[in-house]
Symmetry: C3
């Protein structure tokens, strides 16, 4: 399947040799001069498209693939059917992505401010910035060079965006300092008041002033309709390169290290701290005031209620070390009169 | 309770006979010429309003209901107190709905484009389309006959909407081809970049170009603030009549069959395929690259980690066949020193 | 850490004595005339800032805190290191909040209507209302005195907002009657059609007309991107002072009592009723047509499938009385060959 030209401008064609180079891989077989026009999955890639394989589940598709070449890792080369062409690289997925990017470069900003945008006179707009229809940029905001502010986006008073940020349609930011190349997808909410209040003797709730900020380090990405509340007294911080999927919730005063990955519907309660490279599966959560060490992995739908040490893998609700949780599920299965079997991870 | 006229224009009154006809049911008792002015629940429906009963839990309310008539199934007719009026039909809920619809028809579009809307000269707007304030329709978009584009909605470049679609306030679409009578509720996000990236040898994330689309077949409905990511190389597809509740997440390359029902906070990870008529309870999820057969039912909060065959009912996290999960819960209950009892489904 | 003046106008300074008075507490040690300029957490509060302690977990931070004074409860006074200053009050967190509020009062509305706002001639706007850029206020809407309508907010036809409501950026309301001092955070969705439909004999879904409203009582707060569907025949009601965190889902016909607290990602299915003071942890849910008594507490990630009596504490999925669930987890742990230990709450 070629990318739909209605949405993706036809990429500058590459030769197969150029594609292999872009992937940092070695071309095995095939005509180096063949012109590549696109990329696609094994089952639908055409004769001038490059595909890839990194999930053994899809090995059976190799036989019938019409792809011009298949990017794969050295250990899979032996599985390549007679006469098929491969681009061999240790990072098959990365290499494939770089070919796709070479064919379909990221659209640069179209510098200019849409006539309908509402930009406060006291806002600073950097060189080469694109501002879409009905965008709002409030007083004191600073928009770095080459940012793209999408239609209806609202950049609140005093917000700072570094160079090359991309703010999606309908996203809103307030009380936020963002670094370079930060991405907000449509409808993302950053910097709103956190969920903090005290109870009066009469049983009424009084909102606790939320006097902190959100600090987004370089290359942070925040998914569609995800929410990042500002801190109450300290700041909420997302470390460099951290990526939030859609509909993730980050409570006030939370901090993450560099390169954390939080999948859709993850929720992190207030004042919890994640180390570097923490990965959380979909719909999992962490309670408030908890410390999660570097490189911790949390299984989907798990609920972490207490501190977790570096490198641990935890699962279940409440979350235990994964090995114990799997043993518990196996035991439970047996109690239920079912032959033991490996529970899904 | 009559519908509040501030929000619902007074419906064209029906006679009781016309109401029975609209429901495809039989009037048992009552004056066929009585004028019906509205609908309401058993406990609050007035003397000119029609109510319904399809949940035995509410049988006790029959005695005191003042409703002009109660739509119910034949097997419940015997429970109708002396002197009460019934409209009897096999599909009581459907019949009741059709009476309500006859009294309160869907508001048709008010053809015209609000002067504040920003519509690209290269967009095509069909006949009888209503476009609200501050709506944005980008270059190459095609809006079918009789569509309603709500206030602040953003229809991205090249997006195609078939006849009679309704796009709610603040909803956004990009990279999407939609069929006829598709509904997006407020804040729904369709077509944004999926959550795909590769890791470099230096440990940085590189976004994988997301070169697919979202295909929404006829009558698809997407809830408020729900998210449907576009495909990476293939497309993300929602089959005809599929309904997503609010805050649902659909990952890239996911496909569903016809008439699937996904309740609030459901999450489907990338490249998973659902068959026809799959039903998923609230806060349940499915892992990536999994196949879910036709008519599978997934209990609320369940986590499906592997393929499920047609017609199966699964529950728990990880999800097992429901019968085994219930046995496991019962055994666990016993271990906890609690008298066995039927766990909630 | 002082509040960032880019986002928080410097508060009117207080003396330490005035701070203690604001907190309704007693100053123990320190110079009553000392000028307080801000608030902050124990580890970062400066010599003219007030901090607080109400979580024993942070007791070790007392020794090194440079705070001008620390708000704490009488029972913690003994833990205060020699020479440190305290403001002693039974409600330390509330008292601290009141000092913060005295230093940083809520910004009042800036009366006036932004020239870009689209306000229907048939809408009523109260005295002193602030309306932001691109806000939409439809026919028949009534906006109470001193409301703030944020940028891009959409207040639908006939919607009523009482005095002092604050509607965040991109929030939308329809079919809603709100009391006084109601707050919607950015992207909140209130009043859209509920998830109700009937199945035809041909297997098609027909939308059930959703003819109810949303009633928001005084002081209700709704989090960013949270969703509250309107009723189908009856109304959806949130009781006075109830607070929803971000991304919460409230189905049609749900009602809550006064002062309920629903943490992020909570989902309440249709027609369920919560009493007063119900507290639900993050990612927990309640099935439809269920009754939850006053002051019930539901643990994070729990799934409540049936009625719960007043004052009960439940947890697990399915949710059981917390004591039994903890026993079950302990038993399961033992089965998994792990030394028994207190499972996380």
């Amino acid at each position: 399947m070629a990318a739909d030209p209605r949405f993706f401008p036809a990429g500058s064609a590459l030769t197969l040799a150029e594609a292999a180079a872009a992937a940092g891989g070695e071309l095995v077989g095939g005509d180096p001069a063949l012109r590549i026009t696109g990329v696609g999955p094994l089952q639908s890639a055409g004769a001038t498209e490059v595909s890839f394989l990194d999930n053994r589940r899809y090995l059976p598709l190799l036989a019938d693939s019409r792809a011009a070449a298949i990017v794969l890792a050295p250990e899979l080369l032996a599985r390549l059917p007679e006469g098929r062409v491969a681009i061999v690289t240790k990072q098959a997925y990365l290499g494939f992505g770089r070919i796709a990017r070479a064919l379909h470069p990221v659209a640069p900003p179209r510098p200019g401010i849409h006539p309908t945008a509402a930009i406060d006179a006291a806002a600073q707009i950097g060189a080469g910035v694109e501002v879409g229809p009905f965008a709002v940029i409030e007083a004191g905001a600073e928009i770095g060079e080459g940012c793209i502010i999408g239609p209806h986006a609202v950049v609140g008073a005093g917000v700072v965006l570094g160079e090359g940020c991309r703010i999606g349609a309908h996203a809103s930011l307030s009380h936020c300092i963002a670094g370079r190349f930060v991405v907000l997808h449509p409808g993302a909410r950053v910097g709103q008041e956190g969920f903090g209040f005290a109870v009066t003797p009469e049983g009424r709730f009084e909102t606790m002033p939320q006097l902190g900020r959100v600090l987004l380090e370089d290359f942070v990405e925040i998914g569609a309709n995800a929410c990042v509340d500002r801190g109450s007294q300290s700041d909420t911080v997302l470390g460099a390169g951290t990526r939030l999927d859609n509909l993730v919730q980050i409570g006030h005063n939370v901090s993450t290290g560099k390169g954390c990955v939080l999948v859709a519907h993850v929720g992190i309660a207030g004042s919890t701290r994640l180390g570097n490279g923490v990965q959380m599966g979909g719909q999992s959560g962490v309670a408030g005031h908890v410390e999660i060490g570097d490189r911790v992995q949390v299984a989907a739908q798990s609920g972490v209620m207490s501190d977790v040490g570096p490198g641990e893998i935890v699962g279940g609700s409440p979350a235990w070390p994964m090995r114990e949780t799997l043993r518990a599920f196996a035991a439970l299965r047996k109690l239920a009169g079912r032959p033991a079997a490996k529970p899904a991870p």
